[in-house]
Point group: C2
Chain length 147, copies 2
């Protein structure tokens, strides 16, 4: 059967996953790209080098995110959410980095022998010109299929 996820199930999926597909559009072109993220219950928080998706979201802040868990083609959950891109600076950026680090530390320790190496700190961000952003979600929908 196919059905709608409840608001709680939608939030549970956003909390449990770490990869979203971000859709943005500017200058007549649509772009879909995977991002890693942390969810704070109201915003999807991410970081990026300067590049195409950042330029596009600066030009048009209204974006779409898709997050799913696919067990197999007949068993899956998917959330589609819309929101507004906001670039973070100073204290807001530092707090967002804390959220990202807390979310990814356990995961990175399982895939690398040098945990910490991949974690941005506020000092790293200053050096690398990373962009710290949040997407404030304004609308969410969720669907599932189960057989």
């Amino acid at each position: 059967m196919i059905g709608d996820l409840s608001p709680q199930e939608i939030d549970d999926l956003l909390h449990s996953e770490t990869v979203a597909r971000l859709g943005c559009h500017a200058n007549g072109r649509t772009y879909v790209v995977p991002i890693t993220y942390a969810y704070d219950g109201a915003n999807v928080i991410g970081h990026s080098a300067e590049g195409r998706k950042v330029w596009m979201m600066r030009a048009n802040r209204y974006v779409c995110l898709e997050v799913d868990r696919m067990y197999n083609p007949a068993n899956w959950r998917s959330v589609i959410a819309w929101g507004e891109y906001q670039e973070l600076k100073d204290g807001d950026a530092a707090a967002a980095i804390e959220t990202l680090v807390a979310r990814f530390r356990p995961m990175m320790m399982s895939v690398t022998a040098s945990p910490g190496h991949t974690h941005a700190t506020p000092a790293d961000v200053g050096r690398s010109k990373a962009v710290i952003y949040r997407i404030h979600l304004t609308e969410k929908s969720g669907r599932y299929e189960r057989r």
Copy 2:
């Protein structure tokens, strides 16, 4: 290391996967949605009920597709492709359905006790008003990370 996939590696990933994230944009709104697809080497072939993504692609045929294989956060391959939506009728639709059925038959037999039940035939399509479409790819790029 992070790098670019070769044209052959891009095509291999498009052939090996069956789920893409489709990004479309119309009337000021961007939409990202998972689709199942078959790739014929030049087009991504899909089917859909009448609904939001079909209406949006009729309004603006220029779309973006993202296909990936995520082994873990530090090991993945991702292809982003752009193309044009084309709705198929008659013989073109029948040939596209054959391609979809051939691609999904082995997979569906592994997840359901009633294979065939989920397969659209030309007669089913007439009954259910399914839309058969292809996205003719005009540009492809691919990236990988490996640690």
